[in-house]
Every structure is written in structure tokens, then in C-alpha cells.
Amino acid sequence: MAELVQQIVNGVSNGAIYALIALGYTMVYGILKLINFAHGEVFMVGAFSGLLVQRYMPGNGGALSLAVAIVVAGIVGAITALTIERVAYRPLRGKPRIIVLITAIGVSIFIQNVVALITKASPFFWQPVFVTANETAVYAIEPFLTWADAFVIGGAALMMGLLQFIVYRTRMGKAMRAVSQNMDVAALMGINTSRVIAFTFVLAGFLAGAGAVLVGQKNGAVNYGMGLLPGLKAFVAAVLGGIGSIPGALVGGLILGFAETFVSAYVSSSYRDAIAFSILIVVLLVRPSGIFGKYVPEKV
């Protein structure tokens, strides 16, 4: 029983991370119909900036430095995403989608290699915050919910709530939704579409950067290639939930997190990815547009 509860916690906490990154993919796709493959690298850059804050801020890596790290990582993530948009995507606006897609892959490889050069591709390690002096975990609820997991789940939930508020309760959110429905008409209505697109990248970058600090507390290591696999999996989660849909990214992330955890736990850790991704294929065979996605036929 305790094991089952622990596995549920593991699943939620993994899924929450996938969901946070998946939100970035889904928002950008919803507006630009672009799969931003460099999103995983924004996550990685955020992790490095958060790690630097934790290392060099006075206060010996305590809870305060972690809070600052989240904010700084979020801001650095936002700036990175915005820069990528300005430099690599904006000049290609209106060009065939495949060109932008290939650019996105190029940007991803470029950022990875730059960071690999700077860091000599060495791994770096977070100083754990939610531990006793003996470096054992501190529990929020004995014996299955550590503060580190609670922090990940709570942090992710808070950020998603904030996003929901921005998208559905603010003027900018309304503009975002309008642009995602029809960019040309939105422009005719007097919406500055370039600003809305830039804002979307900022929002996505912030979630990825701040999310990276949450993951870091949980998993420990930071390296130049850390964005690739979570990025790929979050993309899968976004597609699973229905790309372009915000609740879809949330549900997709949780499903993927649960699938991975439970395959590892009750089937075999060797087949984790194989089985988790088979689930994706089956879901997409049944619902090609994803769980929350709407199937929109191409208009001729």
C-alpha cells in the first residue's frame, strides 16, 4: 500500500514536470503552428542559471536562495526564449513551416553545443535544500511525500494556475486566444500580433526555466544535454493531450508521467520508454488530434 502511494506520488511529480514543459510547446504551437524544438534547451539554460544562483548567492544554498533561483531561472528562460524567437523565428515568419521547424532543430543543437563548450560538458550538482544535516530527506507526509516532491507538485500547480489566469482573465490572454484562432483577423482587430507572439515565448520560457529549478531539487544533476529527453517527452505529452490545448498539456503530461512510473514499477524498467510510447501511439491511433484536441480539416 505504502509502495502504491509512493508510486502515485512519483507519477504525479514526474507528470507535473512534463506538463510544465509541455505547456510551452502547446502555447507556441497554438499561436504559431510551430513546434519549438529548442524549448528543451530553454529548460536547460534555466537550470544552469538557477544552479549559479544557488551556488553563489550568500546564505549557503538555503530555501531563500532556492526561491531566488526559481525567479532568476524563470527570467533567464524567458529571455532565452524571446531571443530565440527574435533571432531565429521572426525573420522566417510567413515562410513555409518546414523551414522554421528545421531552424528550431538547428537552434536546439546550437545551444546544446555552446553550453557543452562553456561547461566542458561536465555535470554539475544542486545542493539539496529539503534535507536534514545528514542529507536525508525531510518529509511533508511520512513516509511517502518528501518536501522535495511536494515542492515540485505545488510549484507546478501554482504556475499552471497562474498561466490559466493570464490566458483566461487578462487582456493579453484574450489577445493570445484571438491570435491563436486567426492571426490575420486578430491583426485587423488592432491586436499587435508580434507583441502577442513575443509574450507567448516569454511565458513559455518562464515556465520552462522555473520548472528546471523544480526538477533540479528533485533529481540533482545539471548538464548540457538535460533538456533533450524531457523536451522530447514533453512534446509527446503535448501531442497526447492535443497540441494547442492548455488542459491537454496538463493531462498529457500527467498521463506520460504515470505511464512511465507504473511501467517501471509494475512491469519492467527496461521496457519503460517502449511501453510508455506505445501508449502514445495507441491513443493517437484512436484520437489523432489528441485527447483535448479538435480535429480541424484543412480548408481549401
Binding site: 509502495e3 509512493q6 513516509p143 544535454g225 527496461s270
Partner: protein, 401 residues
């Protein structure tokens, strides 16, 4: 390494090698010894990447040997030059580096790699070009099985797995052990298989056999499952970056059982990544710095004087590999690959750092292993296990580092 980029990089390598002229086939006859100006040793290692300490220790070990030789009479009256190439810890890069060393730099022998997966990628290239390749520290048996130009300066996984199984049974007196292996790593899979087999033979039980993949960061689901099986120890024969994270997450899940591992743990980065979570764990290794044997003492002193740090086993083995190879040039009286190979194959009682080096018929060194415990962030010697079997009595534990 990342899958997607791995595939991309691999296709680039394939593309690049397709353009190169075919090496191998009929080997060029090596020039006579007096026609060459220097003896060239090619070294391939992971100077960057998540196994970077492996490559840098290898480089330091080889450089120290070369420096000492050059300070004396050189080799065959000529200076020795070591050419180091970085493979970032990736097999496809290791292969390309080997090709480059042979075709462009025209090295007379190759030293490398540490990771078995990388050595396995390099060996066929060296074998085809008939250039002797000496791996200082790859323990997977398949490496030297690739051909008669491939040599090894350390023990192999069947022995290392046996050592840890025997230590766990005889010294720690444990019955129930879980295994957590890296499925994408030839070294880890090989060790896990041997350990499981030997441990069962000795009457122990493997209560769980789970896996992860290099580059994973979250091991909690698997560890929770292992916790359910209630093992007395967990055998994790991986590399230090992942092991550190696994240790932390295991302790977070309140798993108190010690972790057990192999020589892939031997890096100071393990302590950085694992922190206090790695305390009281054990791993098998090639040597221990505080071993009172005079050859080890002398080596550790020279190494400290040169680099101002303590040599790990990887550095000691690399130093030995370079020394054995350079001595083979002397004995062969030249750099002809086939002659050097014959001399290397006949290596017997060579005075190395970790003891006398003798190569067996499979071109593998026959050496004892030590078991090291991690205590207070330091490596402590606990036991030495000889190749013939039988655990030596534990010597007084002293602090390494």
C-alpha cells in the same frame, strides 16, 4: 548520450568515413626505427562530457610516463610524443578519433579508452590497420576478443563481478541483493550479469534486477520498486554521474542498504554528486592509493608532484599502459606494429604500479582487485581479492586522499 543527437552524429560519422580512403587492407610497411624522428602514442579519452574525469586521468597518467621517459634517454634514442584526442565519451567519436590518429597522425600505438563501449568502437579500426591498441581500463571481455592487436592492462568484468559477489557474501555476509544496471552500457550490463550469476552460485539471492538508461535523471519509480523487495544491498555497476544521483534518490526514499559498484565509480565527482548519500557504500577497484607497496607509493608521490592531486586507479592504469607500450618499442627495436604486438603479447612480470604485469593468452592482464569503502567522503581500503580466489584478510583501513 542523447538519442536523437546520437543518431545525427552517427550519420555524420558514417558520411565522413565514407569519403575517406579505405584504411587497412595491405598494411604499409613501417619505416625502420632510425628513419622516424619521434615515437608517437595516440591517446583517445573523454576529456569532456559526463565521464570527463576518466579521460583526464588517462591523459595525466600517459603524460607522466612520457615525461619520465623523455627526461631519460627517450625510447630507442628518440623523443616520445603523446597525441591526445577527445571523444566526449561517445563511441562514434572515439572511433573517428582512432581513425584520425592512424591515418593522419600516423601514431605507432594507441592507448584508450576507459569506457568499454568506446574501446569496442575503437578496436576494430586499430585491428584492421594493424596498430597495437592498449586499453588501460576497459573491463568488458569482448574488447580484446576483437583481435590480436588489442591489449588490456587491467582485470576483466567476470573477475570484477566475481570479486564483488564474493565480498558481499563472505565479508558483508549478505543474502539478498538487488541489481540496478545501466542497460545502455556494455560495461554495466556485463558486470551485472556476472555478479548475478556468481552471487547465486555462492548461495545468495537476487531479489530484484532493474535497469536505467544513461542520461536518466529520475530513478524513483525503479528505486521504490527495489525498496519493496527489501534488499540488504543494491549492486549499481554504472558510472559515477548516475550513481551519485541514484544514491541521493535512494536515501530520499529511506533505503538504508549500502550500494555496491565497480571501478566506474572511481572519481571525485562521485562524492560531489552523491554527497552523504554515498557514504558506507563499497566498490571494486584496481588499486588503492594508500597501499604500502613501494611501486604504488613512488607512483603516487610522482603524480602528486606533477599534478598536485591524488591519482585515481584510471590514472595509474594509464601510466602502466604507457610504460608497458614504450618498453615494448625498446624490446622490439622499432615501431613495426606486428613486432611490437608480439613483444606486448609476451609481456611477463613487467614491474608496473599495481604489481607485476603478466598478460594471459587472451592479452588481458592478470591482477588482483581491491574493495574500497566510502567513509567520510574518502576511499578506504577494505579488502584485496586475488585472481585465484580467496579473500585476503582486511588490512587496517586508512584514509585515501
Amino acid at each position: 548520450m542523447s538519442r536523437l543527437h546520437g543518431i545525427l552524429a552517427l550519420s555524420l560519422v558514417v558520411g565522413a568515413s565514407a569519403c575517406k580512403p579505405k584504411e587497412g587492407g595491405t598494411p604499409e610497411t613501417a619505416p625502420p626505427a632510425d628513419a622516424i624522428t619521434e615515437i608517437k602514442l595516440g591517446v583517445v579519452g573523454s576529456l569532456t562530457g559526463s565521464n570527463a574525469t576518466f579521460g583526464n586521468s588517462t591523459k595525466n597518467g600517459v603524460d607522466l610516463a612520457v615525461k619520465q621517459k623523455n627526461a631519460g634517454a627517450g625510447v630507442l634514442g628518440k623523443k616520445v610524443k603523446a597525441i591526445h584526442l577527445d571523444d566526449q565519451g561517445r563511441p562514434e567519436e572515439a572511433k573517428t578519433a582512432t581513425q584520425r590518429l592512424i591515418t593522419q597522425d600516423k601514431v605507432h600505438a594507441i592507448i584508450g579508452e576507459v569506457a568499454s563501449s568506446n574501446s569496442l568502437a575503437m578496436a576494430p579500426v586499430a585491428q584492421r590497420a594493424r596498430v597495437p591498441m592498449i586499453t588501460p581500463s576497459s573491463t568488458n571481455p569482448a574488447v580484446t576478443e576483437i583481435g590480436d592487436f588489442i591489449f588490456r592492462m587491467c582485470f576483466i568484468d567476470p573477475f570484477q563481478g566475481y570479486v564483488m559477489a564474493k565480498f558481499t557474501r563472505d565479508n558483508l555476509k549478505l543474502d539478498k541483493v538487488a541489481i540496478l544496471r545501466d542497460v545502455r552500457n556494455d560495461y554495466s550490463v556485463g558486470l551485472a550479469n556476472v555478479f548475478a550469476e556468481e552471487f547465486k552460485k555462492m548461495g545468495g539471492t537476487i531479489v530484484a534486477d532493474e535497469s536505467y538508461a544513461q542520461g536518466d535523471t529520475d530513478y524513483k519509480a525503479t528505486l521504490t520498486k527495489i525498496r519493496g523487495a527489501n534488499p540488504q544491498a543494491i549492486y549499481v555497476p554504472g558510472y559515477y554521474t548516475e550513481v551519485g544521483q541514484i544514491a541521493r534518490q535512494a536515501r530520499e526514499l529511506q533505503i538504508e542498504a549500502p550500494l555496491l559498484g565497480g571501478d566506474g565509480w572511481d572519481s571525485d565527482k562521485l562524492f560531489e554528486g552523491g554527497g552523504k548519500a554515498i557514504e558506507n557504500s563499497y566498490f571494486s577497484n584496481h588499486y588503492h592509493v594508500d597501499d604500502p607497496s613501494p611501486s604504488i607509493k613512488a607512483f603516487v608521490e610522482q603524480y602528486r608532484a606533477e599534478y598536485n592531486e591524488t591519482p585515481d586507479a584510471i590514472a595509474a592504469l594509464a601510466y602502466e599502459a604507457a610504460m608497458v607500450t614504450l618498453a615494448a618499442f625498446e624490446t622490439a627495436g622499432g615501431v613495426d606494429g606486428t613486432k611490437v604486438r608480439d613483444v606486448l603479447a609476451a609481456t611477463k612480470d613487467f614491474p608496473g604500479v599495481t604489481g607485476k604485469i603478466t598478460l594471459n593468452a587472451k592479452r588481458d592482464a592478470v591482477k588482483p582487485a581491491v574493495v574500497i569503502q566510502i567513509r567520510d567522503g574518502k576511499r578506504m581500503f577494505v579488502a584485496q581479492i586475488a585472481p585465484e580466489g580467496g579473500v585476503a584478510p582486511a588490512k587496517t583501513a586508512t584514509a585515501a586522499q
